[in-house]
């Protein structure tokens, strides 16, 4: 358990973060973590419906929600600080005492199937899923967190109970609390009220994805008004010592309206409305990617222009003032993220669960500050020399020019 006392705040936030998300699911169980997350809000013995769960927290003006990721699942609540006990009570209730009613399982299955179909109708999101399939082929990291229509249709209540029993156990859990709260009382409340099992039983080890040996292009033909393109390469894990250099590379390349992609591809060349870059990091792998939303007639030109920007990062070091701006951007974003009790609780819990230790904000900012232009170029050389992968959704019957653009 990690606690940050923030006496000047009026709220308190608590996060229950479990190690394990879609990465631990085999093909048959794909989507089970996300399914469980939905079901935990359907009712417990004491609060038999989703309305009663929501009412308990919203009745005091609070928020309750959850998210499933590839390596973790988080349940959280943010409440006025005097209602911290209530926040803990409701969260403990849903993760330990959910009814998992068979009728709810069937109803929620339909909801999740609709959710999966909804993403397929949102090409700017769906193209990222396709890109992740290319980055981590035949691996759970390359699958949609919510699973597939086949797996979600097949999952039964026994699968769900078995998986929840194996993974929702104390050794897999970190609890984070932040805000105006009484630390001792919070610890006592956790000790008395949380009734999860203590030993581990039958958890699956997370296998590392195989090496990528060649660049690949995947074109999904759709009669969209815009072409949606994601291209990028495998990159660094969140454990890697160069992860801050990668973050700065990403900031320089495509985060915000002063990034190279925005200024050159959108403002100077007028090739795309939305162009930005992003990273994703896991225990042993990650990626850096670029998204382009572009008129189909300009899609290949836009990809070529992005390739030019990627080459430029490898060819020369970024200027000191550009690096300084990226550092201020990164440090400022982290500070803003930690403005809320929820942000702090998540930040601490994430570090404890995935990194195995906690850095203070000053320690983290010092690591960002220590990155040099040479570090960024070294990371660019390393990461961007890997085989590029590209997913495209748009009115394209062929892929030859896209393959040529990335050397596939």
């Amino acid at each position: 358990m990690v606690i940050e006392h923030m006496p000047e705040r009026h709220s308190a936030s608590v996060v229950l973060m479990f190690a394990g998300g879609s990465r631990l699911e085999d093909e048959r169980l794909a989507g089970v973590s996300h399914f469980i997350e939905h079901l935990y809000f359907k009712g417990t013995e004491r609060r038999p419906s989703s309305k009663e769960i929501a009412d308990a927290i919203e009745g005091v003006g609070g928020f309750i929600n959850a998210s499933t990721d590839k390596e973790l699942t988080a349940y959280w609540a943010r409440v006025p600080s005097e209602h911290m006990d209530l926040g803990l009570d409701v969260l403990f209730d849903i993760v330990a005492n959910s009814r998992l009613d068979p009728a709810d399982v069937e109803r929620e299955r339909m909801v999740i199937l609709e959710e999966l179909r909804m993403y397929q109708d949102q090409p700017q999101d769906y193209v990222q899923n396709l890109f992740e399939e290319l980055i981590w082929p035949d691996h759970p990291l390359g699958r949609d967190i919510a699973g597939t229509e086949e797996s979600v249709s097949r999952l039964n209540r026994e699968d769900i109970l078995e998986y929840a029993d194996a993974h929702y156990r104390l050794p897999n859990l970190v609890i984070g609390a932040a805000g105006s709260l009484d630390e001792e009382r919070t610890v006592v409340e956790v000790r008395q009220s949380l009734s999860l099992r203590s030993g581990l039983n039958g958890t699956t080890p997370a296998l590392s994805p195989a090496q990528l040996t060649s660049p690949r292009v995947l074109v999904r033909r759709r009669d969209t008004e815009q072409a949606h393109i994601c291209l990028g390469a495998r990159a660094l894990s969140y454990m890697h010592p160069d992860r801050h250099a990668l973050d700065l590379l990403n900031t320089v390349l495509g985060e915000g309206m002063s990034s190279r992609l925005f200024l050159n591809i959108r403002e100077r060349l007028g090739l795309a409305y939305d162009v930005h870059s992003f990273t994703q990091k896991h225990r042993d792998t990650g990626y850096v990617g670029v998204y382009i939303g572009v008129d189909p007639k300009k899609a290949v030109d836009a990809v070529n222009a992005v390739m030019g920007e990627l080459r430029s990062l490898r060819e020369s070091e970024i200027a000191p003032e550009e690096l300084a701006r990226a550092k201020e951007f990164t440090k400022g974003r982290l500070r803003l993220e930690l403005e809320t009790t929820n942000g702090v609780a998540f930040w601490l819990t994430y570090q404890e669960l995935l990194l195995g230790g906690i850095k203070t904000i000053d320690e983290e900012l010092a690591l960002v500050e220590a990155v040099t232009s040479a570090d960024v170029k070294r990371v660019a050389d390393d990461v961007l020399s890997a085989p590029l992968q590209m997913a495209v959704i748009g009115p394209f019957a062929r892929d030859s020019a896209f393959r040529l653009a990335i050397g596939a």
């Binding site: 007639k297 899609a299 290949v300 070529n304 394209f396 062929r398 030859s400 020019a401 896209f402 040529l404």
Partner: protein, 73 residues
């Protein structure tokens, strides 16, 4: 012709039919087989024109054919 295609003149100054005819003429030249991949890229460009792919897509494939020809020269 490639520059005209790249300038997105495909539907005015040079039509898809003219582009396709020019590519077919190229495919009949013996030089095409002197370097690897030239015939392949020209074929892909011709297919792209037939499928109504955007001008920059066709141009990219034609530039690849030109590049392959130069490399083989």
């Amino acid at each position: 012709m490639i520059n005209a295609v790249a300038d997105e003149a495909g539907d005015e100054e040079i039509t898809p039919t003219e582009i396709a005819e020019a590519i077919r003429d190229c495919l009949e030249l013996s030089e095409v087989d002197r370097a690897p991949n030239v015939r392949r890229y020209l074929g892909e460009a011709l297919d792209a024109v037939s499928d109504g792919m955007p001008a920059d897509f066709v141009a990219m494939t034609l530039y690849a054919a030109l590049g392959a020809l130069r490399e083989g020269a």
